[in-house]
Symmetry: C2
């Protein structure tokens, strides 16, 4: 399928002006819009949940710190929205198919206390970042740069590491509970990611590649999950928790 009205004035640009030529492929473009939309809704929903979880903060200082972590997520939404519009998509319609999976993720991982909120913020955010960075390797450079900058670490993770380590040093059973909690977040993330993959053909087709575009075969997908799991374990260790 090639769009009949694609204007390619130069070799490295595609329809709509100065977009990379890769985006002239409608299937790829559709997959990119899906990807940017799921990241955007992920950031927006993470923002909302972090603000909700900030209510559990034991002090105004901690509440502000978590709120600022939320604000950093929110600030990443607009560039994604703008990019989807530039690609000819409707940003909000594009986000709609991902709402259920992400809302379900949050509904199933609602923190019971401040420490569960911190672990979720740290582990969930890092997991999303690792995953989108893996995917970014298969994107055109412009989209890759946007995706990587959209998930970059706001350096707020110190809050979680510091508070959780101090709390479990004073309360060992809390460490056991939070370790289980971290596993649950990882499990819910996998369940919802699986669901999105099953629902969104363009995104899945992009991930596994095609004749003219490299993608991940099953072995590569397996290796990616191994890397994500290892990074998750490292992070649990950083928090002082059993992976």
């Amino acid at each position: 399928m090639a769009e009949s009205d694609v204007d390619t004035p130069a070799e490295d640009t595609a329809g709509g002006g100065d977009l990379p030529v890769a985006l002239a492929d409608p299937a790829y473009r559709e997959a990119v819009i899906d990807l940017l939309a799921v990241i955007a809704y992920g950031e927006l929903s993470a923002f909302e949940r972090l603000v909700e979880d900030a209510k559990l903060a034991p002090s105004l200082e901690d509440k502000l710190a978590l709120a600022q972590m939320a604000g950093a997520e929110l600030a990443k939404v607009q560039p994604l929205v703008d990019r989807i519009a530039l690609l000819g998509g409707d940003p909000f319609a594009a986000m709609a198919p991902f709402r259920e999976a992400l809302d379900e993720f949050h509904a199933h991982t609602a923190p019971a206390d401040w420490y569960e909120g911190l672990v979720k913020a740290y582990v969930g955010d890092s997991l999303a970042r690792d995953f989108y960075r893996e995917i970014a390797a298969y994107l055109d450079p412009e989209t890759r740069e946007l995706v990587v900058s959209s998930v970059e670490d706001g350096r707020h993770s110190e809050l979680a590491v510091d508070r959780v380590r101090r709390a479990i040093a004073a309360d060992a059973p809390l460490g056991g509970r939070l370790a289980l909690w971290g596993r649950r977040i990882m499990g819910e993330a996998l369940i919802q990611a699986q669901r999105v993959a099953a629902d969104r053909d363009a995104l899945t087709a992009f991930l596994v590649g095609g004749v003219d575009r490299p993608g991940m075969d099953l072995a590569a997908l397996g290796r990616m999950f191994t890397r994500l799991t290892e990074l998750h374990s490292d992070r649990m260790g950083e928090l002082g928790l059993e992976p």
Copy 2:
């Protein structure tokens, strides 16, 4: 009262480095810390409430717009926190005395729907801005600049004006309800401001001035309230509502 350990190396600076000389007066400094703290907690609580109210948005686009309005409030908190610390105050301890009044304000003005939320965001935010701008006239230039920039319009008011005008054009009774709602917000704001003024001696003493520093006499306070009421009426008119 003069602090014994104030170091005044130059005429235009006061203790703690390069602070304006006005801040060498401990009573003035205390009032400034109070003022910055009430603004900071006001922004932080407005942020939380706007995110809460964004849940009422009829579309993802409107939700994002209100969330961004909230994010703009949050971004103003850190410079105030930093300034309070520079003045030798504990920013979070300084905010504590204002929590009850501001939390009460929000508890008594919880919007029942999206439009009440928009009117509250617009009217409440503007009222705070007008009030702090009035006060700013009595501040040293550095503090004044910080206060004015902390309450400047994020240009998000178009959202409220556009959405409310369109809604009442299609639903006249809504206009009547929102007009009453706007008055209620103004009333609650006055009740809580009155309460803060009664509780915080340093702030009140600063407002009414002293032998060596101009302030507001009762007539000036009255004129200020007249101006605030007029601006509030103008804004209600902009929304298409009876003041």
